[in-house]
Symmetry: D2
Subunit: 308 residues, 4 copies
């Protein structure tokens, strides 16, 4: 089993959680989806994020998803498990179970309602206290959802204090200047350089790679785009990377819609054969015939453009 480190690179795709049309967990589709992601050469998987409908699962179901995925992945790529919760006790118990089952690390977003630098630092200190000391941690910086703002100097203080903090999932918005500031201050002060993987629907992915991101932690239904952009960028061909990104952007933007984006994503994953049903677990958005026709049209345009 590989543990996540600061050298994490590439695409740690945010895995969808498959359900049957009547809302039951669809474990067979978990296998299919793992095969789909690995077939598109992702560098890792991230389970139980917001886009994985983690908050709609019971505790047992969460573990079922983790174990099924880890079994199917069988060590081929590292798997990160989201364990955020309003209480430290559920954080600790899910993290322990996930690491036992073979996860490479856990992802934590701060509890909503924390105010001020000290409160956030103390919260993360308490998280690290309840985790096994060997557990690698991804900090999810997503203030749009948590309401908790992370200043760069505070993040560096956390990097110094918590050696197992190895990845920043960067999805603050606006976030481009923050990413530049982070990389500059790390270098200026000769600090430990953590991995930065970008979320936020990867809407600014090429710009973020240029500014020092190491890859993406995003769930776009065409993970091959995320991988290809990363590879071309890593190979130094920035314009080619951006050409690929731009071709997919009209569709990517549809997955970025608040409230319905995940339904678009699952419809695309279903259309591509990666999951048996596009259903979200209730409560969740449903697409109309108009919505589906619109997606179909955009897929057709994408395919023509990729051929061209």
């Amino acid at each position: 089993m590989t543990r996540l480190t600061e050298s994490a690179r590439g695409v740690f795709v945010i895995a969808a959680t498959p359900f049957t049309s009547d809302g039951a967990l669809d474990l067979a589709s978990v296998d299919r989806l793992v095969d789909f992601y690995l077939g598109h050469r992702v560098h890792g998987l991230t389970l139980l994020g917001i886009m994985g409908e983690a908050q709609k699962l019971t505790a047992e179901e969460s573990l079922q998803v983790v174990r099924r995925t880890l079994t199917r992945v069988a060590g081929r790529v590292p798997v990160v498990v989201g364990v955020s919760s309003p209480g430290l006790a559920p954080v600790a118990s899910l993290a322990a179970a996930a690491m036992d089952a073979g996860a490479a690390g856990v992802m934590v977003a701060p509890a909503a309602g924390l105010r001020g630098d000290e409160a956030l630092f103390d919260y993360m200190a308490s998280v690290f206290r309840v985790l096994d000391p060997a557990t690698p941690v991804v900090y999810q910086d997503y203030p749009q959802s948590t309401g908790v703002y992370l200043p760069v100097p505070l993040f560096h203080r956390m990097v110094d204090a918590f050696p197992r903090l190895v990845v920043l999932k960067h999805e603050d918005a606006p976030g481009l200047a923050k990413l530049t500031q982070l990389r500059q201050e790390t270098e200026r002060d000769r600090r430990r350089r953590v991995s930065v993987l970008v979320g936020n629907g990867a809407l600014y992915y090429p710009q973020e790679l240029t500014r020092g991101a190491d890859g993406a932690m995003s769930g776009f239904a065409y993970p091959e785009m995320l991988v290809e952009v990363y590879e071309r960028f890593a190979a130094g061909d920035v314009d080619a990377a951006e050409d690929v990104f731009d071709a997919y952007l009209p569709l990517l933007r549809m997955e970025h819609q608040p409230g319905v984006g995940l339904a678009v994503r699952k419809t695309l994953l279903h259309r591509r054969g990666a999951i048996a049903s596009p259903a979200l677990r209730a409560p969740g958005a449903r697409l109309s015939v108009d919505d589906q026709r619109e997606i179909e049209r955009l897929v057709g345009r994408l395919e023509r453009r990729l051929k061209g």
Copy 2:
């Protein structure tokens, strides 16, 4: 086992969840707390509300609290269990387990992010579909936390559509005019009259009783006040009811502070011998020596006033 009905009256105290100082569930204190509440003659108990730190418990711990409480109560009063969750599946599984264990009903707040009357109605319809048809439901109207506004006409539409919707936990703010509107429209249209129990820290309790509330669903550390106000009011002695309320108001207001109110409440419950430790589970507020001295002073003033 008694099921909750529209005739629910009096004080269904919101039970605190006791933890040891290191954050473990303190089941022995659950017994002690039940004895404390019943010793103060409450008419019912409500478990796993926001003030019960429900969101910090694992699923197994939630069930442990429910079962321990029900065993100790032993049918003497009805027990309501909060089952709100972002996903319907956890709502259904906790509700089923709670009812199996002998609960009298469940309390549901709408999932955050619902927009518009239709979305809210549909959500509640889906909740009732996943519950056993015999399960009585308390609707928790708490938009300060959920962001979901409940107009009175929509509530009446729900009352008509869902026969097992039997109690409104009223804690919208401002809420006094809404309560009056609710009672007037019920009567005008000769609808089924549900029970209304007030939350929101009981800060407007006498006014709410005058406007048609049937009691309180609140967790004030002096439940005898909640009971006595209810009884005096029911006996027609409104001024005496309000005199009692006013005596406790300086302390009640301290429990109503955002962020630290629950720490004040648990400190008082601990001081009164109802729980072994005043600790909140992490992450949670802690009181300073200044805070404790301040509470001590207010308790002293209360005791002198009650003697006078």
Copy 3:
């Protein structure tokens, strides 16, 4: 002077408000910007929106901008003036002054904090009461900023009640299904058909035109794109319209960033010679050298693509 009606079509560009680098109103640039917009054949102008930094102007400055713009436009296209305010009195006084100066109509977003259908309807009724009865009104549906959700049935009730409500600025998100529902219900119930112009950065512009929008009320720094997409779409060449849109999408997305989008827009307008300084009035975002280089790069890519 033309009044705005339900037949409003095309691009009513949201005009930036130009400032000098020390924050003074730059009225000479108002002229230049009007020439720029009209040179790109927009169908109308919209002043004093959020993206026009309206909230940072004094009342006198607002009027100066309105008058200077109207003088320069000289009746060639209709000009809409944003008059939203927490108080009805400022709404009324700015609307009266704007209409006196020759505006074609006013734009109103509901006051923040309204809860429920009745409160929103009553608010709009009170707005129409304080306006001159001949003043045409654009309703700005932007709940991300106001917190006020507008259900389609309520909007139709408003259309019936207020004959001078002639345009919906559609920028709810998600908004595509809402737009379809609006057009379907208008037709099904044979109601008055109002104009719908889309905002929200025009991020879903082709899809919205397909679903029944009549144009855009957006401030993208390349208004020629907004116009060309509209014209090609109106001519029935949907794919060509979308090709144009897609070419600009990488840049449009940069203007859609929360917090810094307007700084990107003004930088582009300045680069294109439309305003003398890219400065936002304080407090406002400033772009770094990195930001500017990034924009430069995207402009280069756009220009190459347009040539291709």
Copy 4:
């Protein structure tokens, strides 16, 4: 003319803004209200706060209120004028006009949307740059409205950097521990001690005086309570101060209701003869007959208690 300094003490009542029943500014009632406040021996006045409906006034009306008030006060007590605005330009112009007219200082809340310590510090630096260097400033710490959290160390950094920052209007919630921390750090580091006046409806006034507040900046309709509590506390009779406070608490709590509190306050001011009409300017809450009867009842209870 006296300028506001760090030695500000006592009650700087937040003045209501009187309107006629049809929403016009009622300048005659401004005089009457000034007489009422001064008759109850307040130590200062604060105009154009949120509770003064400042955001509903036009710029000219704001100045009319400021000038009329200053004329009537005629230098007997210092008058602070709220000048908060999303733009620095309106802050500067209203502040200059108010100081010209004889105000003792201005009150500023940070613009909404600032994120992080640096952004807040920079914002305040830019405020001080646009003000006349002699203008004393009250910082309004009200994150419930602005969304901007002020950590104590940052406030002290501001106190060091801005010599004209002389008062903190303290209305963060929870706020008691913050007040203690502020006073302790001031003393420990031997910093300049600013005045702290409490807002937030004065709901924790006796506790805040104990923790180091110097008075209140609140608009309770019985300013004599605010004054008497301050005086008894200053005289060392803490219990007597708290007895007075407790007597008014049932009524004070009614003014603290979100959304309708100001309507309660104006109803009480009208009942006491301080203003000609209880009307709020639209949009604003209106009280029903039930509401009024309820207030009447609470006033009756208060009067009996004060006699007893």
